[in-house]
Structure formats: C-alpha cells, structure tokens
Amino acid sequence: MKNDINLLTSRKTAGKNDKKLTYVLFGILFAVTLIAGILLPNRARDEAELKLKKLENSLNKLTITEKIFTETTTTAAFAVNQRAQLEALYGSRSDILSYLSVIERSLPQTALLTSIKFSDNYASVSGIAPDDITIAVFCLKLRETNEFAGVFVSSSTLLPDESHSMFSLTITLHKSLSGGAVVEEGARGAQPENTDSSAANLSDSREDKQ
C-alpha cells in the first residue's frame, strides 16, 4: 500500500481551487445581491420623494383655492343673471313713438283720430272718417306696414247727421308694452297682395251699392 501511486493528486488540487472560486463567486454574488437589495429600493424611494416634492411644488404654485373658485362661480352666476335681466329689459322696451308714427303715416288726410289707447299688446284707435272706404284704406295701410300683428275694425257708426262715420279699430302689437313678444310672425292674418287694388275694389263695391 505504501508504494501506491496517487494518480488523483493534481485533480484534487484543481477541485480545491474550483471550490475556492465558487465560494468567492458566491460571496460576490451575495454581496452584489445585498448591495442591489439595499440600493435599488433606496433609489426608488428617492425618486418617489422627488416626484412628490415636484407635485407639491406645482400644487403650491397654483393660487386657486376652492373658496376662490366658489366666489368666482357665485360672481359669474350673478353677472349672468344681471346681464340676462338687463337684456330682457331692453328687449321688452317697445318703441311707442314708432307705433304712433306708423299710425300717423297710415291715416288718410280726410280722417282724424279722437283717441288712441295703448295697453299691453293692444292699441285701440277711434276716429272720424267721411266714409267707410277711408276707414278701410286706413286699415289696409296699417296692415301693409307689417308693424302690427293684426288690425281689426271693431265698429263703424254713421253719425246722426249722416255726414261722417265714427270708427274704432283694435290693433294687435307684436310685443306687449310691458313684456315680451306675444304674437308670433306666423300668427298674423293674411296680407293683401295688392293694397291699392284692394282699396279700389272696396271703392268699386261702394259705388255699386250706391
């Protein structure tokens, strides 16, 4: 046995070296894992803290607060309401002078008015005319202006001396004097295509009667 030759000596040495290397590698791996295990979470925390700080800074830079926003909303609602009221007020203001002017322009010179009464969306006009044709012409002329929603002859009465007729018209306005629109465009009665011819026809029919 003493003279046995150990043929595995070199191999044994190599096995020991490999073991050492394995230990070293394992140690390095362990150290790297440990360092990575400490550094990576640290880095993630730092990044998160930085992000939070940035967000907080951005938030602090915004001067708006809920109180300011509520105040602005209230002011805006008040302003909208105020504007709407004023616009409605101006929109509801009727130009009564223009109505008078239209009546003035439409009245035949042989007729005269004894009263005009504007109330809500109506105007009552009374007057005296030499005959019904004049009243009809007045009525047609008023309708022709398109300034009114409707013109209605309420009455025409021959005066006791039979020289003239007293008449009364009811004019419907597009807009109430105290409020908004009361009559739509489409609600207006049929307009004569040719006022002059209509008046002429009326005149002819009167002559026929006579």
């Binding site: 440990l34 938030l59 009221q85 616009e87 007020l89 009564i96 008015l113 005009i116």
Partner: protein, 219 residues
Amino acid sequence: MNISKREKVLIVIALIFAVFCMYFFFYLKPHTETMEELNKKIADCDTNLKASQQMQDSNAKLEKKISEDMVVIERLSGAIAKGNDQPPLLVFLEETVKPHATKGTFLFGNVTQSGYLFISPVTITLTGDYKGVKNILSAFAGEQHFVKVTGLSIFSDIREVSLDEREDAQNERSSPKEQTAESLEIKIDIEVYSIAGDIPPGTVYTFAKDYRFGTDIFG
C-alpha cells in the same frame, strides 16, 4: 471544535437565511411600507393637482366670462339710476313734461323689485297737443332715466266740426295735418327702472340749491 461538512453547510444556510430575514424584516418591509405611503401621497397629490388645474382653468374661463358680462352690464345699466331715488325722478318728470304739455298729475305707484331692479310705476295725466306727446315720449326714450312706456291714452274732444275744418283745410292747404287738436287729454303709464340697492353716497342734487329753510310751516 470539530464540525462536519454537513454542519458547516447547514450553518451557512442558516446564516444566509438569517441575513435574508434581517434584510426583509428590518429593511425591505419598512421600505415597502414607506413606498406604499409615498405612492399614495403621490396619487393624492396628482389628483389634487389635476383637480386644481381644472379648477384654475374653469376659474380663468369664468373670470373672462364675468369681465365680458360686466362690460355689457355697465353699458346697459348706464341709463339706469342706482337705488330708488324719487326726488330726482320727480324733477326729471317735471322737466320732461313741462315744456311740452300741461301737467295734470304724476301718480306714483308702489315700488316693486324684480330681480335686481326696482320698478317704479308712474301714471302721468296731461293736457297738450299731439306734438307735445311725441316730444315727451321721445324724451322718455332718452338716456337720463330708463323709462318704459307701458300704456298710452290720448283723447280728443274734436268731432265733426274738426273734421269739417280739416276737409276745408285740405281743400285750401297741402298739409292739413298741421292743424291738430290743441287740447288732448293724455294719460301715459310708465315704469321707471333703477338698480336695486342703496342710493350712491355723495349724490349731488343740483335742483336742491338756493332754498331757505325754517319758517312758520303754515305761514
């Protein structure tokens, strides 16, 4: 002390496990909790930031709308007095009516409030001519006070005689409408609008000058 290879391996494993446990319990777990908290704060902050930015944008839009509305309001309310101030209104009515017609009555109704506007109804009775009525209505359409004419009645006593006169006039003159009734009975219903609130302090009433006060009241 002799320890076997197997024991050595076990000790190493135990050491590694102990290190891992220490790492987990004393470092990783608290760190994870901190990260969770941080992430929650970030999420909250992000939500707040987005909400605040949205609020700021809306606020800017609202402020722009307010300034636009205020320009219109200022323009429209230029002719509307602030507060229900009756004395200057009475003077305004007097000065408007006097040059054009003979005043009968100014009948003031109860002041009502509609939204942020005071409405002061006044019924005016007058006698005058048609031209005068038109001048008065024209003055009411002016910008001194915001006046809305809500009713108008004009009555004339002229009957057949006037018509005959008009026909005669038409034969003689080209413009018979110049001959109008001199004495019409006129009733005008108006509403005078003012902005609800107090009369602005320091309002100057020029009409109230040169008066002396303090005497026998029935004198």
